[in-house]
């Protein structure tokens, strides 16, 4: 192919590509979601799940014979205290009217 023809084809391709990209960027769909900042409450629910997971793992490890009763009690009570704190705060935040 003639080099000049190739150059013209490439120039047309580049122009079309740029135009499509700009249309895509600046004409977004109408249902643009604004997104929201994560709340303390959402974080607490995540934390609750993590603490519950930790409790499940601990129970399984205890059942498998890895820890003595005393070690299990100490770890378990620590995790339960943390769960209690998290649940308390969730209750407080949920009791406040929006």
């Amino acid at each position: 192919m003639n080099p000049q023809t190739t150059t013209v084809i490439v120039q047309i391709f580049c122009s079309v590509f740029a135009a499509v990209a700009l249309i895509y960027i600046f004409i977004p769909s109408k249902d643009t979601d604004t997104g929201v900042d994560k709340t303390r409450l959402a974080y607490l629910y995540e934390r609750k799940d993590v603490v519950y997971d930790n409790l499940r793992d601990l129970n399984f490890e205890f059942k498998s014979g890895k820890f003595t009763q005393a070690d299990y009690d100490a770890m378990s009570s620590g995790l339960e205290a943390e769960a209690a704190r998290v649940l308390d705060e969730i209750d407080q935040l949920e009791s406040v009217p929006a």
């Binding site: 150059t7 490439v10 120039q11 391709f13 580049c14 590509f17 740029a18 990209a21 895509y24 960027i25 600046f26 977004p28 643009t32 979601d33 604004t34 997104g35 929201v36 900042d37 994560k38 709340t39 303390r40 959402a42 974080y43 995540e46 934390r47 993590v50 519950y52 997971d53 930790n54 409790l55 499940r56 793992d57 601990l58 129970n59 399984f60 490890e61 205890f62 059942k63 498998s64 014979g65 890895k66 820890f67 003595t68 009763q69 005393a70 070690d71 299990y72 009690d73 100490a74 770890m75 378990s76 009570s77 620590g78 339960e80 205290a81 769960a83 209690a84 649940l87 308390d88 209750d91």
Partner: protein
């Protein structure tokens, strides 16, 4: 193609610049206009991917079309180059590899922006950070190392060709794997910085990036291993790791990335080490950039590095800006990173993670100092002082041994603190197994106190046994619990055990792979080598092998000239194998030599033979016996398999009853998760 490539690179720079600047405005303006601007920034980021992809396509197309009007193609390709290596042209030179970096970053960014609904606000700021990195690399591609630069004058008939050392199948995969690793750390870095900037509550960003980080770590591990295997199979010096600066550069982010993968569990589980983790991932990213700079900028001398160029200064500036940005937001928001729990005891899982991190950091600093010492010595004294393998071995081997010990101990300790009773319960069998192996090795003739390398090897075998025993006990203990609960056999129970916590048990498989790797490395203590000038019919004795030279042939092909021998090998007096070591000189590269290693592999040892050269027409043959090397590669395969397992989502849990009474508390009715105490 130069026109298309140049246009796409410029357009991509404009798009990523828009994504970065408007991303900042969108993050600051928390109103509807701000959100709309953020959405245009997100879309510009996605369009960047299309533009960079087209630019990369244009360069590969030029390689396949033998377009030697491009300087890059002229210097890194030729007409007779095989098709897979024409793809490899994209990352074979400085300019192309920076374009490849940009393309991988754009690809990662595209996936992130595509999946923005996972957390829109967090992803918006992460996208803005990624766009900042993208702008830097596209600036380099456009104005410092443009792969679409055109040669003056008429087009040459043929190119200089790809470096023969790189014309090896693994070399088509090794650089992309390393790059996927280097570039991939941009994602967790960007998430961490975004979480710090917006004071993101909780650890969900870690959860989102967990798989990114593991996949990135996997790519880097595979990339480093392929590089080591290439060095072993192609460079022909008998080893696979020479503490070369560029090898070290790839190891640095791998070490800190490994530390991050471990310590991040502390943050997820216990809300601890937040400041540590954030700096760990910042450091990992900066080390990945440093690694790119060392390879691309030619700051250090290496078999891998490209020529010295002005690009290094750009990287220094970029690293400086990244550090200042990270430090600024850390100082402003450091109160957000306060720990939720404190370290209660030195004998706990938390402390084992902490020691693991400190040991890995010590290894990183040792490797970093050794790697940068030539640069620092030149800056201070005016000449380069190179630090060699003995320094690294002296420092890194003891650190590695302590790390193996921690790998054994960590999983068996309890969170919080561990009593002597629990320690005895968990460590008795592993401890006596490892002691028995240590005594057994001495009884079978190993002399650990004869010299330091034998002591290190013996210690490695003993500690590896300790790890294997602890990992096995973890699987068996858990399996036994589920066997009773599910009324099935032990193997099926262990399968279910893994399915309920893939990350944890996949992690144990990774540890097992690392142990096989260390066993392979320890074999180096027993290496043997011999070099001999041989005539037809001459014999060479090395270890229990006898090598007889039966032929010495010269060959001349259109691509290279070669000199090759045929060696019959006997082991303990019986025929074992025939080996064909060869030495080639590639014509397109001005006679650049390449060693074709003849290697006979077994689980016990490699018989590794090279054609060293000629003296008055007689071939010089060098033979090595490298014990246990194959376990290095098997270990890597197990690591890959284990990481793959850890990436698989968990199956539904099987609940297990715990008879112990739970102390009463105010909200106890809310607190019990499903499956506890039932």
């Amino acid at each position: 193609m130069p026109l298309l490539g140049s246009f796409c690179l410029l357009f991509a720079l404009a798009l990523s610049g828009y994504c970065f600047v408007v991303g900042i405005v969108g993050a600051v303006r928390k109103d509807f206009v701000g959100y709309r601007m953020a959405e245009t920034a997100r879309r510009a980021g996605m369009a960047t991917f299309a533009a960079v992809t087209l630019a990369a396509f244009a360069l590969v197309w030029a390689a396949f079309a033998d377009d030697f009007s491009l300087s890059y193609i002229l210097h890194h390709s030729n007409r007779s180059l095989a098709a897979p290596y024409k793809f490899a042209v994209l990352w074979s030179g400085q300019e192309g590899s920076l374009l490849f970096w940009s393309w991988l970053l754009a690809t990662y960014g595209f996936v992130l922006r595509w999946r923005h609904k996972v957390d829109q606000r967090l992803v918006a700021i992460t996208s803005m950070v990624l766009a900042g990195i993208q702008v830097f690399f596209l600036l380099l591609c456009n104005f410092v190392a443009n792969p679409f630069g055109v040669e003056p004058g008429p087009m040459a008939l043929d190119g200089a060709g790809l470096n023969p050392l790189l014309q090896y199948p693994e070399m088509v995969i090794h650089p992309p794997m390393l790059y996927l690793g280097y570039v991939g750390f941009s994602l967790p870095f960007a998430f961490a910085l975004a979480a710090l900037i917006m004071r993101y509550p909780g650890e969900k960003w870690i959860h989102i990036t967990r798989r990114w980080t593991m996949v990135t770590w996997l790519f880097l591990s595979v990339g480093i291993s392929l590089g080591a295997h290439w060095a072993y199979a192609v460079l022909g010096w008998g080893g696979y790791w020479g503490w070369d600066p560029v090898e070290n550069a790839s190891l640095l982010p791998w070490i800190t990335g490994t530390a991050f993968l471990h310590s991040v569990m502390m943050q997820e589980k216990r809300g601890m080490m937040k400041m540590w983790n954030i700096w760990l991932i910042f450091t990992t990213f900066m080390l990945a950039i440093l690694g790119t700079m060392l390879t691309r900028g030619g700051a250090v001398s290496s078999v891998h590095a490209f020529a010295q160029s002005a690009i290094g200064a750009w990287f220094y500036w970029f690293l400086g800006i990244v550090f200042v940005v990270c430090l600024t937001f850390f100082i402003i928001n450091r109160d957000h990173l306060a720990s939720e729990n404190q370290l209660e005891s030195l004998v706990s899982r938390e402390s084992s993670f902490m020691f693991n991190n400190l040991v890995l950091l010590a290894a990183m600093f040792a490797v970093l100092c050794g790697t940068l010492f030539p640069i620092l010595s030149e800056a201070v004294r005016g000449y380069k002082i190179t630090v060699g393998g003995p320094f690294f071995n002296k420092v890194v081997i003891p650190i590695g041994l302590f790390l193996i010990f921690l790998t054994a101990v960590g999983p068996l300790l309890a969170w919080g603190s561990t009593s002597w009773g629990s320690i005895k319960r968990n460590f008795a069998i592993p401890f006596f197994s490892s002691v028995a192996l240590g005594v057994g090795l001495i009884a079978f003739g190993m002399r650990p106190f004869s010299d330091m390398s034998h002591f290190y090897a013996w210690s490695t075998f003993v500690l590896c046994t300790l790890v294997i025993a602890t990992i096995t006990s973890e699987f068996i203990r858990g399996g036994l619990v589920l066997r009773g609960k599910m009324n099935t056999n032990l193997l099926f129970a262990i399968f279910h055990l893994m399915r309920r916590n893939m990350r944890r048990y996949g992690g144990y498989v990774v540890h097992f792979g690392m142990i096989l790797f260390f066993i392979g490395v320890a074999g180096q203590a027993f290496n043997q080598e011999k070099e001999l000038e041989m005539g037809i019919g001459d014999k060479m004795q090395v270890g229990h092998y006898t090598l007889t030279l039966t032929a010495d042939n010269h060959d001349d092909t259109p691509v290279y000239e070669s000199q090759a021998t045929i060696l019959d090998v006997q082991k303990d007096g019986r025929y074992y194998t025939t080996l064909y070591p060869e030495r080639r000189a590639y014509k397109a590269s001005g006679g650049q030599p390449l060693t074709v290693v003849a290697n006979h592999i077994s689980l016990q040892e490699d018989l590794y033979v090279i054609y060293e050269g000629q003296n008055e027409g007689r071939p010089i043959i060098k033979a090595f016996i490298n014990p246990l090397v194959v376990w290095v590669w098997i270990g890597v395969i197990v690591v890959v398999f284990g990481t793959g397992l850890a990436l698989v989502p968990n199956a539904v849990r099987v609940t297990v009853a715990v008879p112990a009474a739970v102390p009463a508390m105010d909200n106890q009715q809310h607190m019990q998760p499903a499956g506890v105490g039932k």
